[in-house]
Amino acid sequence: MAINAPTTSDAARLAAARREPSRAAQVWRAFARRKVAMAALGVLLLIVLACLLAPWIAPYGPTDGAVTDRLKEVGSPGHPLGTDEQGRDILSRILYGGRLSLLSGVLPVVLAGLIGGGLGVAAGYFGGWTNTIIMRALDIVFSFPAILLAIGISAALGPGIGNIIISATVVFIPPIARIAESATKEVRKEEFIEAAKTSGAGAGLIVRSHVLRNIFGKLFVFATSQIGVCLMVASGLSFLGLGVSPPTPEWGFMLNNLKQLIFVNPIVTIVPGLFIFLTSLSLNLVSDALSDALEIKR
């Protein structure tokens, strides 16, 4: 009888009555409750936006400067963050350089997420020899100390920010693959996977519609926690001169240039590092809070 069959208007009325927020809204509320994380998110967005808008908001070009203006103090008129050893405005160089620094922090993690995620899912889903070969190979790379591996690969490939991105990607593939593999193995044991296989779904379909959806949360949280680390690795490599070449600005590389002048003007020397630290710290706080927020509704 029609009494027992739910109609669309019934469902709509029920949902409106309960007013259940979507999952994204729930996660956001859990996140927003932590004030420190919200502050960190604010700082992070501010830095990222400022760097993205650099061509429009920077007071000077990144390479404009005269040597007569070199090493002005922080707070000098016209140069709120001082000038570097060639008279270029540091604030502008921070804004322009931030684009490269942020890129070299985020892109390797994204690439490693795709590659490592793919490898991990394959190893976790197919098991057996596929698993053994992939995971052992990754273990070998993983047993190599991270910074050293990045330095070695960068040194071999030569200077340039592309090579930094490549070596950072290689460094982050094993840990991401591990997370993907263990998450995939867990999901694979679920009954709905077996049901899907029984109904004749192929591996590709199962992975696409079931596995990926279920492991995405863990992978995403882990990847965001690694962005801060990647930023430090990439700026460390730049600091060693393995990244961009002069006169391109980039946070780590600016520290390299300015470090010889620490005896002349210590404060100006330290400014680019401050941005690396703030960005990295905010990223860590945000990703910690995000992982907590996602856990609550799991």
Partner: protein, 314 residues
């Protein structure tokens, strides 16, 4: 116990081989043909082929790896291009200096983390503990080369208390001078680890304090100092394990701090070799540090198993 160590040793060999493969591959991905460095640009194909055969570059990759590995195992790591010395001569004294710095940093971080961590575990709701918690969280995001620069800026430039580079001042020698030079690099290196270690100490000690035997000791009327001794003895295996692993990590990331302080360690050697495109040195340096890292992890694991029987059953 012996079987545990033997099993770990057996695991170590494929790991070391894997490390050597990676280092070998690093040299192989260098863009450009190494033959070009030796023959003049107008050399004929047969001359190039001759040089290639002489360098062993015409053999399949696996064979090249085998030959290289054979030489490495015998201690021949090649000669430096710029200094024309056998690489091992350059690396070993530098390695010693790096170990001095890293050991000092690990001990400092260990002691600091112990004090702060135990305090935070005993008084978790105090304001000081909250402060330490925040500081240790912040210190994870601190790039060590930046910390190094800040320390130089404060203590060398502004206050003039401590030297900012090198391992000793020309003309003076002895422990006092070494310590003065050691202070800032040690602090910079230790700061990058102390956050992680403090959190580990705190969580370990917190976990121990919740256990029944602590309650029993308190009920028995045992003094707090003695209880602390029990707590520490229980926590030591885990804490030392983390310290050892951090030591390995610090060793491997020594390059950054050493460049700032011009500390004559293996990181500095690698850095200079990169600048001079002296690849045998870069490759050998990376290999030596990676091997030290793997060996150190093995020793740390073995010591941990020796101290804590629960690990051996795994």
């Amino acid at each position: 116990m012996a079987s545990f160590v033997l099993k770990r040793l057996a695991l170590m060999i494929p790991t070391l081989l894997g490390v050597s493969v990676i280092v070998f591959l690093m040299l192989k991905i260098v863009p450009g043909d190494p033959v070009n460095a030796i023959v003049p640009p107008d050399a004929s194909e047969s001359e190039r082929a001759a040089v290639r055969a002489q360098l062993g570059l015409d053999k399949p990759l696996v064979v090249q790896y085998g030959i290289w590995l054979g030489r490495v195992v015998q201690g021949d790591l090649g000669d430096s291009i710029t200094r024309r010395l056998p690489v091992t001569e350059m690396l070993l004294p530098a390695l010693k200096n790096t170990v001095i710095l890293t050991a000092a940093a690990a001990v400092t971080a260990f002691l600091a983390a112990l004090v702060v961590g135990v305090f935070s575990a005993y008084y978790p709701n105090s304001r000081l503990a909250a402060l330490f918690n925040g500081l240790s969280l912040a210190s994870i995001g601190l790039p060590n080369f930046w910390t190094a620069l800040i320390l130089i800026g404060i203590f060398s430039v502004t206050l003039g208390w401590l030297p900012s580079s090198g391992m000793n001042t020309v003309g003076s020698s002895g422990a006092g001078d070494l310590i003065k030079h050691l202070v800032l690099p040690t602090a910079a290196t230790a700061l990058s680890s102390v956050g992680v270690m403090t959190r580990m100490v705190r969580s370990t000690v917190s976990g121990i304090l919740k256990q029944d035997f602590i309650f029993a000791l308190q009920a028995k009327g045992v003094r707090r100092g003695t209880i602390l001794r029990h707590v520490l003895r229980n926590g030591m295996p885990t804490i030392l394990n983390v310290t050892g692993l951090q030591f390995g990590a610090l060793l491997a990331s020594s390059v950054l701090v050493e460049t700032v302080f011009s500390w004559p360690g293996i990181g500095q050697v690698i850095y200079q070799a990169i600048g001079q495109r002296d690849f045998p040195v870069v490759q050998a340096g990376v290999l030596v540090v990676a091997i030290a890292f793997v060996l150190l992890n093995l020793i740390v694991d073995a010591v941990h198993a020796a101290m804590d029987p629960r690990v051996r059953q795994a």
